[in-house]
């Protein structure tokens, strides 16, 4: 009875008001479906072909390992997230500001830019050892390494973006008496924004790599620590568990940056 009533009510709703699924929900469902299929293929292939666990463990084994010590993964995730966010925010802001300064002040650019280029040739492994010597096993030290990997592409792309501004448009705004500040905020920065976001999306991944690698220098918590520990005890299940957590953090962060980009650079959204 109840079943029948529920069904007929459902049908009635369908008939009068067709349910329109929001695009974002549809996207999410498709994403989850894709992940589920990938998970089934992973689990099935390992079982079917009898792949030795030290080549590729079952997905279920990895998930159970995470479930056995959830605190370790949650703590590691949060710590690495904090390092990544600080490094990314500082690196992004510094990159944009210094990019603008380079655009405005040619002398500064010629003095400082070569130093930036040289700084980027130092392998992060060598730089990391120094940062730990100077700042110890602190969150700041890891954020500095994330910053170090982040700011350069943002600086370069900000400068590049600002330089693409059409000189005719500048002349037009000047003829209306626009100040330097108005010129920057109304014309130059919006023009550069798509370029800046290309760098920020790149920096999202780089800052995570920086945070993880930074943790390889004697840190006590973080996904990098879990990863390193698993690698050097050849605990393949734990390696995958740490990688899954890092992938979740990386894609999540990238998605957030991309969502902000769609908001701010709406005119470019079709691309």
């Amino acid at each position: 009875m109840n079943d029948h009533a529920a069904t007929s009510l459902g049908q009635g709703q369908m008939a009068t008001r067709p349910i329109v699924m929001p695009a974002s929900l549809r996207k999410l469902i498709r994403l989850l479906l894709g992940l589920a299929i990938a998970a089934v293929i992973w689990e099935g292939a390992v079982r079917l072909f009898g792949i030795r666990p030290y080549y590729l463990p079952r997905l279920s084994t990895i998930l159970m390992a995470i479930a056995a010590t959830p605190r370790a993964y949650v703590d590691g995730f949060l710590r690495t997230l904090a390092e990544t966010l600080i490094g990314f925010a500082a690196g992004g802001a510094f990159g944009v500001l210094i990019g603008i300064a380079f655009f405005r002040m040619r002398a500064l650019r010629e003095m400082v830019f070569p130093i930036f280029v040289v700084s980027q040739t130092i392998p992060v492994i060598a730089f990391g050892a120094l940062v730990v010597l100077w700042f110890g096993n602190t969150l700041l030290a890891k954020a500095i390494i994330a910053f170090y990997l982040t700011f350069f592409p943002v600086t370069v792309n900000t400068l590049l973006g600002l330089e693409t501004v059409d000189s005719k448009q500048v002349a037009l705004m000047r003829s209306f008496g626009a100040s330097n500040r108005q010129l920057l905020l109304r014309l130059q920065l919006p023009t550069a924004l798509p370029q800046i976001f290309v760098a920020l999306r790149l920096a999202a991944s780089l800052s995570l790599v920086g945070a993880i690698v930074g943790e390889w220098f004697g840190d006590t918590t973080g996904l990098g620590v879990l990863l390193l520990q698993a690698m050097f005890t050849e605990n393949v299940v734990a390696i995958w568990a740490a990688l899954l957590a890092a992938a979740l953090l990386g894609t999540g962060f990238y998605a957030v940056v991309a969502a902000v980009e769609r908001r701010l650079v709406f005119w470019n959204a079709e691309q």
Binding site: Y54, A65, A72, V132, Q229, F232, T233, E234, A242
Partner: protein
């Protein structure tokens, strides 16, 4: 007269007692900040230090100790020499020699592993039966000390390193398990466990440095020269507390592994229990059996030194008395050093 004299002696005994009480209970004073940089990530290899920390033994000695993990790109000798860390558990006699050779002002105050912790592993049914069979085969090793052990063993047998293919060993022992490498380097407590978990133990054959008359003691406790000179009491107190921690770890291995896993929860418990058993064996072998943990075996140090000098690993003879100071470990009563 007698009573006054008596009273005086009672007073002086009291004064002495109070004095020694103050000396024995520095915890009442401001605890001294110090750090211990390990040679590697938290694992049962360092159980004693974690146990001493967890049970408050450092605090009881008036030390506010931070244990800093090591890692693949950190040089403990540098961190201790520059003062970034107070104490260090560094690579081994080989890395102490190398640091002193470079002029780094560090002093070894104790040796953890009394015998060579590395072995070279091959398949029992494979082509390598003796060290002579290493010729023409592929051997992987770490170029962070284990290569010296290998070269030393080969030299004793009159084999030149270019007679075999020596390749840098990556993290994984999989190439050996899969058969693409003939001989692999392992520590007793880590890689050997991994290999044994993937192939039957009795299918393996090991080559041990001691069988060729050489020993490379490893896992050396170091301090900066300045610390040894200016704060000998801190060094002694650190050793007392650490030895107490190790004693407890050996007495209650399961509890010790619990303590280590509180610092690193994703470790594999079975592997950590195996590790502690092996580490105990390495720490209580040789001269330590009689003299206790962290004993500095002057003969073993001298032999290793002469070996490195002969093969040009160090450029000049070192002042071993300055590089290895056994006075600190000797200050701990023998009963407290023995496990």
């Amino acid at each position: 007269m007698m009573s006054r004299r008596h009273a005086f002696s009672v007073l002086s005994v009291l004064a002495l007692a109070t004095g020694s009480l103050i000396a024995a209970a520095p915890a009442s004073a401001e605890p001294q900040k110090a750090s211990l940089r390990l040679k590697w990530l938290p694992q049962a290899q360092f159980a004693g230090f974690y146990v001493a920390q967890a049970k408050g033994y450092y605090k009881a000695e008036g030390i506010d100790l931070t244990i800093n993990p090591g890692g693949p790109n950190l040089l403990t000798e540098n961190l201790v020499a520059t003062g970034a860390d107070t104490f260090g558990l560094s690579g081994g006699t080989d890395s102490v020699f190398a640091a002193r050779d470079k002029g780094l002002p560090i002093v070894c105050i104790g040796v953890s592993h009394q015998v060579t912790p590395f072995i070279f592993v091959t398949r029992k049914d494979g082509p390598v039966k003796t060290l002579q069979d290493f010729k023409g085969k592929t051997v992987t090793t770490w170029f962070t000390g284990a290569n010296h052990v290998l070269n030393g063993m080969l030299a004793k047998e009159g084999i030149k390193p270019d007679e075999l293919k020596i390749q840098p060993q990556q993290v994984s022992v999989t190439p050996f398990v899969d058969g693409s490498v003939d001989v692999v380097t392992a520590t007793y407590y880590n890689e050997f466990y991994t290999i044994q978990s993937r192939m039957p133990k009795d299918s393996l054959k090991t080559f041990v440095a001691e069988d060729y008359g050489i020993t490379f003691p490893r896992d050396t406790l170091i301090v900066a020269e300045a610390t040894a000179k200016e704060k000998p009491e801190l060094v002694k107190a650190f050793l007392r507390a650490s030895l107490k921690g190790w004693k407890d770890a050996f007495a209650d291995p399961k509890g010790a592994v619990d303590t280590v896993m509180a610092a690193a929860p994703t470790l594999d418990r079975a592997q950590q229990e195996f590790m502690l058993t092996e580490v105990k064996r390495l720490m209580t072998a040789g001269a330590a059996a009689k003299n206790g943990s962290f004993w500095i075996d002057a003969d073993a140090v001298k032999t290793a030194h002469d070996f490195f000098l002969k093969y040009g690993v160090i450029s000049k003879p070192l002042d071993l008395a300055a590089a290895y100071d056994a006075s600190f470990i000797q200050s701990v009563p023998l009963a407290d050093r023995l496990p």
